[in-house]
């Protein structure tokens, strides 16, 4: 049962959530640099 589930094809999901992660990181880093620039 477990094995079968791990074989389910979720490549698109992985790429999608990593894209979400990339958005989070890009937004966070930009505001962090804005903070540093305003020190």
């Amino acid at each position: 049962m477990k094995k079968q589930e791990d074989q389910t094809d979720l490549k698109g999901t992985l790429v999608s959530v990593l894209a979400v992660g990339a958005i989070i990181i890009i937004m966070w880093v930009s505001i962090y640099f804005l903070y540093i620039q305003r020190l």
Partner: protein, 551 residues
């Protein structure tokens, strides 16, 4: 009719929905007025002022619309998944509804009467009329009564189904109610022991920083009280609309448990730039705030996985072929998908807001206004719109006709466009230093003149977005009225259903439904995060602040 709930619950849920949409209509109209005033295009008559309108907008949309809608959804869904309410459960739900409504009316009367232009955060030492705080207390008590009545219904079910896990919808409802009751303890303590004695003149001073801390102990889980019902729709309703099952029953339950644990001991991240709380405690709560991001990361994965698995079943090929196979023509799905998409920048912005000293970049600027319009104002609100499209006809026995479906598409698309314009402008203006909660901002300084210059970084863009949003809101009210009274009656074959996806709980660990355990841990975390800083605020209290009515 199969899947139809009893008449008593239908009436109850409709009463809550009616109240919710009445608040929605007035609240969005207030939003439109703000748009014009902020751009110096409208002068209000003497008996009405900007901050009165702003107080009404915030209270009616963020508190009244959401709460009444959420209880309608819970009541209909609990009856649908656990069976009809007994007479006691039904009666107490009605009593709760009436108390909540009376509280709301009292608050609204005070605001309209110009006695309570204190905005929805009602920060001391701005002092509203004492009855405003009584109204708030009644509102909370009413929601507790409805909440406890629903929990009573759930307990009855569990007695009759010993050893079984409850249906996912009921589990999530109970988790959300637990979260709400624990969260309200803070605001109830502040209102009963600080605001009411002070506003009625029984004591002369109020400990301002303590009242703020108690408010935000409530204020952050409040946003999860809005979000969790939307997540319920995402986890339980959406897979059914897609024609599939819940991706993982155990992970869905685990994420709700994590919300109970980590959404409460985090309120200081709203107070990062305030005196009176040591940096250590602010940082500790920042760390706990980051813990509550994890269940949302889990939710993101579950959603995409549900879409991909179903899209592949329907023949989608390659890395993203499944995406095109999703039922885009079904507005019940598309609305919620757009809601989810808005939560990506919304959630990312939230991480920034909570990032300790980075909060200084955005604190109380228009960025924050943009932020909550792409969290509660779209992900939550548009999920509720998506539910409304079938929930009202389900309750009234009418049909969501093709023509109304087209209108619904126009409604959600115009809401998205309006929100995109308004919230993007607000985010950018906030970074440029434009403050929140201001009437027409005529500061004579180059930095402030720049707020009226540019394409996205412009108050005018914000106003265009806001106006589109009001048109969209009016359209939604039209659809609601149609679905309630006008649309043709459905026969047995056309009747709307309450979609509940099957969820395989066979591998779900039983301890996830051990509420005593989770409530216990939640209180331990709250005690760790709050005991010392709150005790410090009480022990080292400055002389109290007097009563101020500066509006």
């Amino acid at each position: 009719m199969i899947g139809q709930i009893a008449k008593g619950e239908r009436k109850l849920a409709l009463a809550n929905l009616g109240f919710a949409y009445a608040a929605f209509l007035i609240g969005t109209l207030c939003g439109l007025l703000q748009v014009f005033i902020r751009n110096d295009a409208l002068t209000l008559p003497g008996w009405l002022d900007y901050y009165q309108v702003l107080t009404a907008h915030g209270l009616l949309l963020a508190i009244v619309f959401t709460t009444f809608f959420i209880f309608a959804f819970f009541q209909a869904g609990m009856s649908r998944t656990l069976g009809s309410f007994g007479p006691k459960v039904l009666l107490w739900n009605w009593i709760g509804f009436i108390v909540t409504s009376l509280g709301t009316l009292l608050v609204v009367i005070m605001v309209i009467g110009g006695q309570a232009s204190v905005l929805y955060t009602f920060y001391a030492p701005l002092q509203a009329h004492g009855l405003f705080y009584v109204g708030l207390a009644l509102f909370v008590i009413g929601t507790w009564i409805q909440g406890f009545a629903l929990v009573g219904h759930y307990q009855l079910w569990r007695k009759q189904h010993k050893g079984e896990l409850s249906p996912l919808f009921a589990f999530m409802t109970v988790a959300t109610i637990i979260l709400w009751v624990i969260a309200c303890l803070g605001v109830v303590a502040a209102v009963l022991f600080q605001f009411i004695p002070w506003a009625f003149g029984m004591v002369d001073g109020i400990n301002v920083e303590l009242s703020r801390s108690l408010f935000w102990y409530f204020g952050h889980p409040l946003v999860y009280f809005w979000l969790l019902p939307a997540y319920m729709a995402w986890y339980v309703i959406v897979p059914k609309i897609l024609g599939t099952k819940v991706f993982s029953d155990s992970l869905a339950r685990l994420s709700f448990v994590l919300f109970i644990l980590f959404s409460i001991p985090v309120g200081f991240h709203h107070q990062l730039t305030e005196p009176g709380i040591a940096s250590f405690w602010k940082f500790l709560q920042t760390v706990l705030t980051f813990m509550v991001i994890i269940p949302s990361l889990m939710t993101a994965f579950s959603m995409f996985a549900t879409f991909e698995l179903r899209g592949r079943e329907l023949g989608g090929k390659g890395l993203f072929g499944w995406f095109r196979k999703l039922p885009w023509k079904d507005v019940r799905f598309t609305s919620i998908f757009i809601a989810m998409a808005f939560f990506i920048p919304g959630g990312a912005g939230g991480i920034i807001n909570a990032s300790f000293q980075m909060n200084e970049v955005i604190h109380n600027t228009l960025w924050v206004v943009g932020h909550f319009h792409i969290t509660v104002g779209t992900p939550v609100a548009m999920t509720f719109f998506g539910l409304t499209f079938w929930l009202i006809p389900y309750l009234t026995g009418r049909r969501f006709t093709k023509a109304l479906q087209k209108l619904a598409f126009i409604q959600i698309i115009s809401w998205s466009v309006g929100m995109l314009l308004m919230s993007t402008a607000q985010h950018v203006l906030g970074l440029m230093g434009a403050p929140r909660r201001t009437a027409y901002t005529g500061y004579a300084h180059d930095d402030a003149l720049a707020w009226f210059d540019g394409v996205l970084s412009n108050h005018v863009t914000m106003a265009v977005g806001g106006s589109i949003l009001f048109l969209s809101a009016s359209l939604l009210i039209f659809i609601v009225i149609q679905l309630w009274w006008m649309a043709p009656k459905a026969d047995v074959h056309q009747a709307e259903s309450f979609p509940i996806a099957p969820s395989d709980a066979s591998a779900t660990p039983r301890f996830l439904e051990n509420w005593k355990l989770w409530i216990g841990i939640a209180f331990v975390l709250i005690a760790v995060a709050y005991t010392i800083p709150l005790a410090d605020l009480i022990q080292h209290a400055p002389p109290g602040s007097g009563r101020f009515q500066t509006w």
